[in-house]
């Protein structure tokens, strides 16, 4: 079997989309960079960016894995309040120093350009403000904060610090999401009918306590005092995508939730639904559960001409029969979903088609986390704030909305988005 036919086989056998993909006539101006170009750019950067990681848990370890793909990054230090976890994470980042106190790390490690914060959400505030105060560029995982007070404080410090501050809502850096947004902003879906988003995964969200950590420290997501639950920890990413696409912020949210599956004494819901009302009158419905996995994570934008469905590494457009036809659609790859036919969204399709490599463009070659981190590292190394996907202001707004969504789910009532907080952020 030749290399190309082997690849075709692998793509087809994995259930990915084969075929031509979308021929994006006139889309060459879009800021979509193929991964091969990303790799080349990484090698062009002047020197490695020295970064430190605060938070050596699961997300922190995933971040190390993605950073290690980049030539342009050196992980100089890892910090976690639990010594064994700090050491364990540092072992994965060869050559990294290990710390249990982020202030000691900031004092000790010289030439540190940036810090990535992957602590539990309710523990973002202190390291974020300290790192900004120490003159470091910061990437902070999303949601930015678990309270409006913390979101405002972090955003204020980020603005005063004058350094780059990115929030890990990766949708804004995801090449397929960027491509889809360009369609959305160019009115391809026309009048927005509704936005639907979901995240379903069969998992308990409960982890064993290790090292010196207590159960409540490891399982903070299950503690309503510290956790925004599914509406915030997962839902904030979908809410951020919706706000980014529509360039609008919802005004209120209704919600409800229950412990449907994991009856282990937790009080935070394992299954939720919420509905956010946007100024245009349309609504975003978000559903999530830890008890069933069908459908995974998707965001769908329904419009009068078309719908766009995003599935993290893949995206599709579903056109209505009466929508105007454009030339490229004739050549587009299509995928059948029961009775509906979706056009596959492929980043940089025109260039790939010219190279005869269109099939290789289906699906993303890296996890979404990679692109969020890549944007941040590029912004730091080339001093280009615009390269950041989600900045502190956008991240804080999303946190304020997500906090309201979490309250709505917990109370079962309609909750107004904190307009005063949003005004304060805008001022």
């Amino acid at each position: 079997m030749t290399e190309s036919t082997r690849r075709e086989f692998l793509v087809q056998s994995s259930g990915a989309v084969g075929g031509l993909g979308v021929m994006l006539g006139g889309m060459s101006a879009m800021a979509i960079v193929p991964d091969t170009a990303l790799a080349a750019a990484a090698r062009r950067l002047a020197g490695p960016v020295n970064v430190a990681l605060i938070g050596g848990g699961r997300q922190g370890r995933a971040i190390i894995g993605e950073l290690q793909k980049m030539d342009s990054v050196k992980i100089a230090a890892v910090c976690d309040a639990d010594e064994s976890r700090a050491n364990g994470a540092a072992r994965r980042a060869t050559g990294a120093a290990s710390f249990t106190d982020h202030r000691a790390m900031l004092d000790s490690v010289k030439d540190l350009a940036a810090v990535i914060i992957a602590t539990p959400t309710h523990l973002h505030r202190a390291p974020a403000i300290d790192c900004v105060g120490a003159g470091k560029h910061v990437y902070c995982e999303g949601p930015l904060a678990h309270s409006v007070e913390d979101a405002l404080a972090i955003a204020k410090a980020a603005r005063a610090g004058g350094k780059l501050f990115a929030v890990g809502h990766e949708g804004r850096s995801n090449p397929i999401y960027r491509l889809a947004r360009s369609f959305f902003r160019s009115d391809a879906v026309r009048d927005v009918v509704a936005i639907e988003a979901q995240q379903f995964q069969k998992t308990s969200w409960r982890f064993p306590a290790t090292g010196s950590l207590k159960d409540e420290e490891v399982n903070w997501r299950l503690d309503p005092k510290h956790s925004l639950g599914l509406a915030g920890e997962w839902g904030s990413h979908a809410i951020d995508v919706a706000c980014w696409f529509t360039e609008a912020l919802p005004t209120s949210v209704r919600g409800h939730g229950a412990v449907r599956v994991h009856q282990d004494g937790r009080t935070i819901a394992d299954t939720i639904e919420c509905e956010l009302t946007f100024p245009g009158g349309y609504r975003m419905r978000y559903a999530a559960s830890l008890g069933n996995s069908l459908g995974g994570r998707t965001e769908t934008f329904r419009g009068s001409n078309a719908a766009i469905r995003l599935g993290w590494s893949h995206g599709w457009m579903f056109k209505e029969a009466d929508a105007p036809t454009q030339g490229w659609e004739v050549y587009a790859n299509r995928q059948q979903f029961h009775k509906d036919e979706g056009i596959t969204l492929i980043a940089d399709a025109t260039k790939l088609a010219e190279q005869g490599k269109l099939k290789e463009g289906v699906g993303l070659p890296n996890p979404s986390l990679y692109y969020g981190l890549w944007d941040f590292i590029t912004a730091v190394s080339e001093n280009k704030p615009a390269a950041i996907g989600c900045d502190a202001l956008a991240g804080a707004r999303t946190a304020v909305i997500s906090i309201a969504a979490a309250r709505a789910v917990a109370s079962g009532a309609e909750v107004a988005i904190d307009a005063a907080a949003l005004r304060e952020l805008a001022s």
Binding site: R6, S14, Q68, T94, R206, F207, G265, G363, P365, N366
Partner: protein, 306 residues
């Protein structure tokens, strides 16, 4: 006895897990604690599934195959270790065991300080296609072993575990109450009790089978399975040659069972086992009959040789 069961689909097969703790340890190992630990094991297997899938474009393995011929790629030290294991078995079998699917051989893969690079050939970068299907399940089981031994220190072993991937990759910790007592390998010539120590330690068993190409496929599909399974699962089918071995790590066991299956020769495995100091066992069922290493029918843990 407290017991928790889990099953997941990963690596193209079904993993099943049993964790047990004696009632005497109920203070520490509540049902909730056992469930939590089982979840952590399941999540670890899924993480390795995502990292090592050759079918997912955004997996770490796909990234390696795209990039490592152009530059060294830093990887998780555990993956680096697994590649070093693969390289050693490749060397010890004179290249018969080779997880490089195309573009070169394992000799073209350099692993230095947790970085992987594919060697240039003839002055030009050589794209390789690593396929770690032959050791992936063992690698995942090694990671699970790490979680379980961290949770239950050797000095006061409280946990027992029985975990298998597709019935052909088995990890046993402590003394799980599996039926009918010990895992067995069923060959065309009968059932063979696998000499798992079951003495409180940890053991890995791996079985591989060679499947004939479809064009030649007239294989007897009824004779192969590893059992002692705690939960219902599908039978393995279609084998013409079977090999099994026992080692102190899943990655080693997987690499060697594939190598034994490919070569039909237990000598390299024996040399390795002697050098490593493990009481390893190997079985090969092929045209020459059942043969292998440490097939001592008189010992307590003997194979019941046909």
């Amino acid at each position: 006895m407290r017991r928790t069961l889990r099953a997941i689909a990963a690596m193209g097969t079904r993993f099943e897990l049993v964790l047990e703790a004696p009632d005497a340890a109920s203070g520490r190992w509540t049902n909730s604690a056992l469930n939590t630990l089982a979840e952590a094991c399941v999540e670890e297997i899924l993480q390795w599934h995502r990292a090592l899938s050759r079918f997912e474009k955004d997996s770490l393995l796909s990234f390696l195959n795209r990039e490592a011929h152009q530059r060294p790629v830093r990887v998780d030290p555990r993956l680096a270790r697994a590649l070093l294991i693969a390289r050693e078995v490749f060397d010890r079998t004179a290249g018969a065991f080779d997880p490089v699917a195309s573009g070169g051989t394992m000799a073209d893969v350099d692993v230095v300080c947790d970085a992987v690079a594919f060697r240039a050939r003839g002055g030009a970068p050589a794209p390789l296609a690593l396929d770690l299907g032959s050791i992936a399940k063992g690698l995942a089981l090694d990671a699970v072993q790490e979680i379980l031994t961290d949770a239950s220190p050797t000095a006061a072993r409280e946990l027992s575990a029985f975990i298998h991937g597709g019935t052909s990759s088995v990890f046993v910790l402590g003394t799980p109450s599996i039926e009918p007592g010990h895992p067995r390998v069923r060959t065309r010539r009968g059932e063979h009790a696998v000499p798992l120590p079951m003495d409180g330690g940890a053991s890995h068993l791996s079985v591989s089978s060679a499947r004939p190409a479809a064009a030649h496929g007239t294989a007897d599909t009824s004779h192969l399975r590893v059992w002692g399974r705690p939960l219902p699962s599908h039978e393995r089918t279609a084998a013409v040659r079977l090999s099994g071995n026992l080692a102190d790590s899943g990655a080693w066991a997987e690499a060697w069972s594939t190598a034994l299956c490919v070569t039909g020769d237990a000598a390299p495995f024996e040399t390795w086992a002697a050098a490593r100091g493990v009481g390893a066992w190997a079985l090969i069922d092929d045209a020459q009959g059942v043969h292998g290493l440490n097939l001592d029918c008189s010992s307590r843990h003997a194979l019941e040789c046909a």
